[in-house]
């Protein structure tokens, strides 16, 4: 229930874990990949060559270990920046499509799926903030990254909208569609690189159709 140091910093930039602790958390991540929520404290200890007692000392309990693991993974994921000066219509579209592609690739990765599944499984029962953490570092973090760009594009006269949140949610829907929920429900195969690229290009096009300012389209 109590993560030694990561408890303190609100947003968990992840500097709170020692080298050895990070090894342990990586072991936990590997196990989550193959066993999902079914990982046991013993299996983590075995995989990381550490003792269960140490796990409890460092992370308090099972929930604390899971929380720390999710935070650790979140601190590793670094999505592309998408900040860009000299915006024009074409580069905006390209930037949105590139960003969406990278984002969807992460979202359909084994790790994202496993972690989201685990967080969802927990949100129904335990009062661990796993769902909140995943939400903060997933959907929320993406929003924080995208919204300024949308507003920048609006200021440049390329987009038109009143509600940034609404515009971002629309972008989210156009990009993600049913892909994530299908993946989470075990639908296979996952979309490949090409399918993702194709979908996100369409999404960028559609988003601009909805929110773009026609006279500034250039071409």
């Amino acid at each position: 229930m109590a993560v030694a140091a990561a408890q303190v910093d609100q947003h968990g930039e992840g500097e709170a874990f020692s080298e050895r602790q990070r090894e342990v958390l990586d072991a936990a991540l590997e196990l989550i990949l193959q066993a999902g929520d079914g990982l046991t404290m013993a299996s983590v200890a075995r995989r990381a060559s550490c003792s269960k007692e140490t796990l409890y000392k460092w992370f308090g309990d099972r929930d604390g270990l899971l929380t720390a693991t999710v935070q650790w993974q979140a601190s590793k994921v670094r999505l592309p920046s998408l900040d860009r000066e000299n915006l024009d219509y074409r580069s905006l579209k390209q930037g949105l499509a590139d960003f969406a592609e990278s984002w969807l690739s992460v979202l359909t990765g084994q790790m994202s799926i496993a972690l989201n599944a685990m967080a969802i499984a927990h949100s129904s029962s335990a009062r661990s903030g796993l769902g909140g953490i995943v939400l903060d570092n997933g959907r929320f973090a993406i929003g924080q990254r995208v919204k300024p760009v949308l507003e920048m594009a609006r200021d440049a006269g390329l987009l038109a909208f009143d509600d940034t949140e609404e515009a971002f949610c629309t972008f989210f829907g156009l990009v993600v569609r049913d892909v994530q929920i299908r993946a989470l429900l075990g639908d296979r195969p996952l979309p490949d690189k090409q399918a993702i690229r194709q979908g996100t290009e369409l999404a960028a096009q559609q988003f601009l159709t909805l929110y773009g300012v026609p006279e500034n389209e250039g071409r």
Copy 2:
């Protein structure tokens, strides 16, 4: 692992369960609502005033009970039809918005969230077809319902698209956005009736902007 009769029919219209069995499955649904995947065979037996032995006799094992429960719930959900003759632009938009509203309402209901969460929790570990069942009766069933309408509207000259699947996926994305994943990850409060209505009306409008045939809009 083996559901007595429901095993036979592929799509489970749900007539395979006796009155008493349906009572038991309803008890299981109630428990899933409050305990999610954490429901125990004993709790179901207690709630339904039946013996564990009967549960095992009828449903084989815990997985079989869960599967039957999900099928039973799926057989109960009946989304509005949306079939409509004499399509015009306005009635199409209204129909899509109404349908989307009803759909999103179901999707954000306690029962949908609990069942989806359970199916997701299982898809990571067990090889039970829970995820597939939910997918078939959720996303897939919706598609089957919506696609003919889209094609009908296209034949009437109201919509323009080549790929029905693509058009439907776009509709899905515009309607669902981040609502479902946020709900599954425990984000609260859930959108209320008004927020849903507002979102789905926007979605219908956006969908028509993307796929509507302008000259037939007849405002």
